[in-house]
Amino acid sequence: MTQAEIKLCSLLLQEHFGEIVEKIGVHLIRTGSQPLRVIAHDTGTSLDQVKKALCVLIQHNLVTYQVHKRGVVEYEAQCNRVLRMLRYPRYIYTAKTLYSDTGELIVEELLLNGKMTMSAVVKKVADRLTETMEDGKTMDYAEVSNTFVRLVDTHFVQRCPLVPATENSDTGPPPPAPTLVVSEKDMYLVPKLSLIGKGKRRRSSDEDATGEPKAKRPKQTTDNKEPIPDDGIYWQANLDRFHQHFRDQAIVSAVANRMDQTSSEIVRTMLRMSEVTTPSGAPFTQPLSSNEIFRSLPVGYNISKQVLDQYLTLLADDPVSLFFFLFSFFYYLHKALGSLATATLESVVQERFGSRCARIFRLVLQKKHLEQKQVEDFAMIPAKEAKDMLYKMLSENFISLQEIPKTPDHAPSRTFYLYTVNILSAARMLLHRCYKSVANLIERRQFETKENKRLLEKSQRVEAIIASMQATGAEEAQLQEIEEMITAPERQQLETLKRNVNKLDACEIQVDETIFLLESYIESTMKR
């Protein structure tokens, strides 16, 4: 784990879970797998606090545990998973676009709580939705359950690993920590619950859920205090599936930019057809015949088979070569990701160094290896400037130098020096910079908020006073008076603060998109 990643993890943990969890989490990320006592000793926190922090981290799937011999349980942190926390708003927004408000709230609850049982999720979401509806209307549990089931069917929500059903004939004390079992086929199996009820506005303890539990306790009571029917079956958000969705989105929009709307629709159809059948790490999708694609096109598209074939050939012949045509169409996911990563690099060079540098960069990319003189000739840029730009990019590690010795003694006077772009290493470098950027953005935002803390608190107090006065029916003049407690320059300061914080937040979201592309690319190269 690089320093930049650790710093970012620390900031994220601190913002979302507080200082104690942050201390424990960062310690685990730094040092790897450790048992409980060692953690407490090394971080200097009390055992109770370490226990609390570990519970929170495990609940949110950020830390896993393993039983070693002699009964020692060791805890290990998942740094990558902590970095995902940056992407939570994007996941929730995606759920909203796909499954509207209900889906959005389900995913939000799952992400905020780490793991939950289905009945808990349904109840909470129904309550929340009911709050936002007009008086008298309530949200039915059945509707929420339906959306939940649809989320599971499309694999956006998956089951957590289960405690294996141990036979009670085991002699000796139970193990200090259960080994959880992941059963592939049960991962998306929804227990048969018939949750009947409606969302509640206030917190009242009426009976709401009756249900048929899955296996263990087959009783059916309408008792208030009955055990929850799907006890032990926990669900979590399946982040890999969301990532697949983002990747498909990126590819479709890239095709739309490069060609036209129809071809992007074709690509979208192909991707959707292989959505559930392709495992997440595969370099290419299942082969599809053009007939299948034709049949699966969305209803609105009245293109004939011939036109479809033409489009497919066009896509296959594209030099960016996202497709591979051999009686059926594959989709080279790895290559697609590579193209996306390259495009990201190009645009970064353009924005950072200017369009002429970008021209040189693209040139070197295309020709793979070039000498200094050749760069000047091909790019049609005067020698001095070309040299300057090359060195600038070289110093920032976008371009690297390849030596080709003419003689076995590698004498510098008799060696070719060629400029080249190594996409993988440039991508890694850029990713590292992205992590640093996000860490800087978060720090700056926290600094800005801290600087203006007094002002923020004052404005919050004033707002509270105004709200309470409005509730008790105060006059216009009194409200005016209270509002004037905040002077005009202070108001301006608040406005500036708000604008800055919004900007910084938007930047974080933007950088996270780049992080996603680069990470996907690097991951796909590691898997080959």
Binding site: G18, L112, Y417
Partner: protein, 195 residues
Amino acid sequence: MASRGGGRGCGRGQLTFNVEAVGIGKGDALPPPTLQPSPLFPPLEFRPVPLPSGEEGEYVLALKQELRGAMRQLPYFIRPAVPKRDWRRLPRELKIRVRKLQKERTTIILPKRPPKTTEDKEETIQKLETLEKKEEEVTSEEDEEKEEEEEKEEEEEEEYDEEEHEEETDYIMSYFDNGEDFGGDSDDNMDEAIY
């Protein structure tokens, strides 16, 4: 790679390789030597790309800020604990409160999973019994809180919520101005009130 040969100070340094291969022609001046670390905020040569605005961007932004606020309110956000005090110097009645909390802490053992909920339920029942023995300290409000907690113990996510409940009830109880625990609450408040 290239080693800088001798000849410092006599014009340009003699280098062991043909400099033209890397593009420094004859008579070109080398860039000035760097004498200090690069500035902290180097001037930007080009304007940064504008941020995406529009409905989606704003919605995601609002979502992000909401999430941040929401996570702070959840029980998963662990606030730094109240510092330990020297109990010899304080009245004994304050100490009982801490002991109750410690008893609860011991029930939160290493990773808990559903098969363990039955065990934990027994322990919490025992704990409740011991608490009932200290009836003089426990107010009626606390009993209600315990019952609510018992219901919530079915869901294990909220088991370690109990402490937060306990600590939160400090505030709520102080509203009702209970004579017994008034000393304990004011102790907490005193610490925070010292500016």
